[in-house]
């Protein structure tokens, strides 16, 4: 029973990682860059939702929508101001810029909202008790897993069936060829950032709801872990992000429970390193050999 409860909390944590990892993986797939500021967009989503519920007194669902809108705009603005001018620059320049944006967002949050952690009231309180109270699953956990599944299905349909989604896949394969089809590559990249950032807002709300506290660095560690999850599952792959996220969550939760709380993070990253040694493209990553 104890094991089951750790497993469930792992799946729930992993679902948050998966939602964040989807943002990483989509942006990487299309813009071929690692947006290290992604984790901090999560934190902004957390603050916006918290402030709209506490200061503005909005209902939780409206707070979530507002956080999504703000993060979407933020994501598109970051892309347009910081990354777009570097489209032709070496990838190291873009990477350093992304790290810069990450610190900028953390420090802006520090200025605006202060360093001390704020208490975050979960958007849905309570839990279900099973097996005569031996197993308790919070509503937030259930909502997290449910949202993760809904987002996965929606994104799979979007990239597989819609014109815009297919254009994104075309851009991720070959930008010049996509341009020769009449696809506006810059707009497609903006759109990808918009979707990734909206997902980050949802992840922020879910993350803060399960940890019930929020500060300017809240997004960093989950951001890095989600990045790990994306690489673990195969960066650029949507199902890979889901698989990587959930597995990472389960490993972390079980490692905390049965091995050591202090070592949990080391174990998570050790699993990543071992996986990449065996499968360099990640679990579901496609290794595409160059066709001569």
């Amino acid at each position: 029973m104890e094991f089951l409860s750790y497993l469930i909390s792992g799946i729930s944590l992993g679902s948050v990682y998966a939602i964040i990892a989807l943002g990483y993986t989509m942006v990487y797939g299309i813009a071929k860059m690692l947006n290290f500021a992604h984790g901090d967009v999560i934190m902004v989503g957390g603050y916006i939702s918290l402030l709209s519920m506490t200061s503005l007194g909005l209902p939780w669902w409206l707070a979530v929508i507002l956080a999504m809108v703000v993060c979407t705009v933020l994501g598109v603005v970051i892309e347009g101001l910081a990354y777009k001018p570097l489209r032709a620059a070496p990838s190291l320049a873009v990477l350093i810029t992304a790290i810069g944006v990450s610190y900028f967002l953390q420090n802006a949050a520090l200025l605006l909202w202060g360093a001390s952690p704020k208490a975050y009231t979960p958007i849905i309180a309570g839990s279900v008790k099973l097996f005569e109270g031996q197993l308790s699953i919070s509503y937030v956990s259930m909502l997290t897993v449910f949202m993760c599944i809904v987002i996965m299905i929606a994104l799979t349909l979007f990239t597989g069936k819609t014109r815009m989604g297919k254009a994104m896949r075309a851009c991720s394969e070959d930008k010049s060829a996509a341009q020769l089809m009449g696809i506006n590559v810059n707009r497609t990249i903006s759109m990808t950032f918009a979707i990734g950032s909206a997902l980050a807002a949802i992840a922020g709300v879910l993350l803060c709801s399960s940890y019930t506290s929020l500060m300017p660095t809240t997004g960093s560690m989950p951001g890095i872990k989600a990045f790990t999850a994306a690489v673990f599952g195969g960066i650029g792959s949507i199902p890979g992000a889901l698989l990587g996220g959930v597995l990472l969550g389960i490993i972390e939760s079980l490692a905390k429970a049965y091995i050591s709380t202090q070592l949990a993070n080391s174990i998570v990253f050790a699993v990543l390193i071992i996986t990449l040694l065996v499968r360099p493209a990640g679990l579901l990553g496609k290794y595409v050999p160059e066709k001569v």
Partner: protein
Amino acid sequence: MEEILKVDNINVYYGAIHAIKGISFHVNQGEVVTLIGANGAGKSTTLQTISGLLRSRTGSIEFCGENISNTPSHKIVEKGLAQVPEGRRIFLQMSVQENLEMGAYTQPGAGIDTDLERVFQQFPRLKERRRQIAGTLSGGEQQMLAMGRALMSHPKLLMLDEPSMGLAPILVEQIFEIIRQLHKDGTTILLVEQNAQMALSVADRAYVMETGKITLSGTGAELAASDQVKKAYLGG
């Protein structure tokens, strides 16, 4: 005859390398015009400049009477100028049909099914393989897919960059048969080729490029008969 494309004195650089040195040429409505020349003469660079992927420092490119030298690539496609790039550049991880749908990206959704049928009629092999992932097609099939994809946009001018590259002789014949057929149906074509003999056999007019310049021009038959071309490109 109406000029559909007019390239006037373009100069293109890759960093410090002067790749295109002030060339001018034109393509009339309904014609097949070919640019022939050795590897590195600047033929593909010329097509990429017309498509807006590269920019000229001087001169102008007019398409249907409109200056497109500063128009973004994706807008140029909307105006009816399609390119089948060198090396085909199909989307290898997408299905055959999805590749064709990407070709129709600039088109209103309603006509896409009819256009798909039209392309499948031209290339029956593609119909058989419509659900297959494009990366699994053979070289010849990939070339057909690349051409079919470009035709999905109803181009007023179709630019083909080395369609025979890397194909077995029998497939080269097939590709040129398709080019003849497209010509007969009234498609205007600008063809870049290293296979000068094949290119001149389908072309109304031709230009010879050498190290970034146009050195000769004339009708396809004239150039095929010219001693200079025979010596340099047709093996004596």
